[in-house]
Amino acid sequence: MANLKELRGRIKSVASIAQITRAMEMVASMKLRKVQAKTQAFRPYVDEIRSMISAIAAKVSGEGDVPLFQAREVKAVGFFVVASDRGLCGSYNSNLLFGLKKKADELLAEGKQVKFWVYGRKAYAWLTRRGFAVERFFVEPPLDKADFTAAKMVGQALVDAFTSGAVDDVRLYFTRFQSMIKFVPTDAPFLPIRTIAVGDKAGEKAYAQDFLLEPDATTVFNRLLPRYLETVVFDAMLQSLTSEQASRRMAMKGATDAAVRMQKGLKKVYNRARQENITKELLDIVGGASAVS
């Protein structure tokens, strides 16, 4: 009998877990839609900035004079890492962070310094636990509320670190959102600027080669450059965020399915046990009755 009671309890707890994971799945898909809308709204801006900078880059002579373009001997590498603030999102964080660890170990073995700028509590906790020093941990605003201002702040911090000579190479380490089920940890070079590319190239438009430039190419270019870097950072943040939510949705869906399956199995066992009890009792009664008569 105790067995039956125990089974009832287990069935109940599994059912409530399924309920929770189902709710989390729903929340994740809602958030995912939100992030995707944000990405959609951001797309025209990226396209414009990119087309402008590529149109103007050709006009600027002496790119080499701009410090952000100058490659120098790499002594210290800075990583901007984007992970999630919360767990329960499948292998999203561990995929990213194990790859990062490998990279960092390689660089350390080569005798280079590694520094981290981090978005996402999970990455911060992970790195500090493994004894890496985190240069700056961005908490405000939290990643899922981050807007362009946050990207601006990050971009500024990275550019400052590069120009001050604290690091000689800045890389973005984030998760690229390839499809609803595929997220690729990506290590993208950021500074010094090597090529100008962000987002997909599909929106490339043909522009007249000759246009007026006021006041002059260098002035516009120098103002455009920080904007461009910010869009690259924001793009990385948005892609990571999309991957996180999609990954969480997938993980929670898996958990819900598993819980439902488990509940079914438990129910079968429970029913069998119950039936066995009834049969046993019936046999007892029949046996008792035949003994009396």
């Binding site: 807007d147 000759d210 246009f211 430039l213 006041p215 924001f234």
Partner: protein, 142 residues
Amino acid sequence: MAELHLRVVTPDRTIVDRKVAGVKFQGVDGSYGVLPHHAPLMTAIAHAGAAVITELDGKQGELFVSDGFAQVQNNVLTMVCEAGEFAHEIDLVRVKAAEAKAREKLAGLDRLSADYVLAEASLRKAMMRELLARRSSGTGSI
């Protein structure tokens, strides 16, 4: 009537994407007026800029734009800015708060530091916003 296609794009949304009769805005080196069939152009918009849009029916509307770039190509004027708002959308309470914050920051800074320049820019933006908002709601100038 000749038309000019105007697009105002910010990171959060595309604010304007339609035909207009003309646009005036402030560039870093002075005021620009763009009419239909303007020659191809690329320039930077002032940190705290205002754009005046002349609609096809002759009405005029004001738009706050900051830290942006303007480009004319194929009779399309694209303004890519970090922030943009129609004058009637501006929230005066928030603007006042931003202004107070900027002033407070300015007071404690060295005149030659980079932060001073940044704070001054945000003060300018707040003041430009206020100016536009007041002008559009008819509550008089500052």
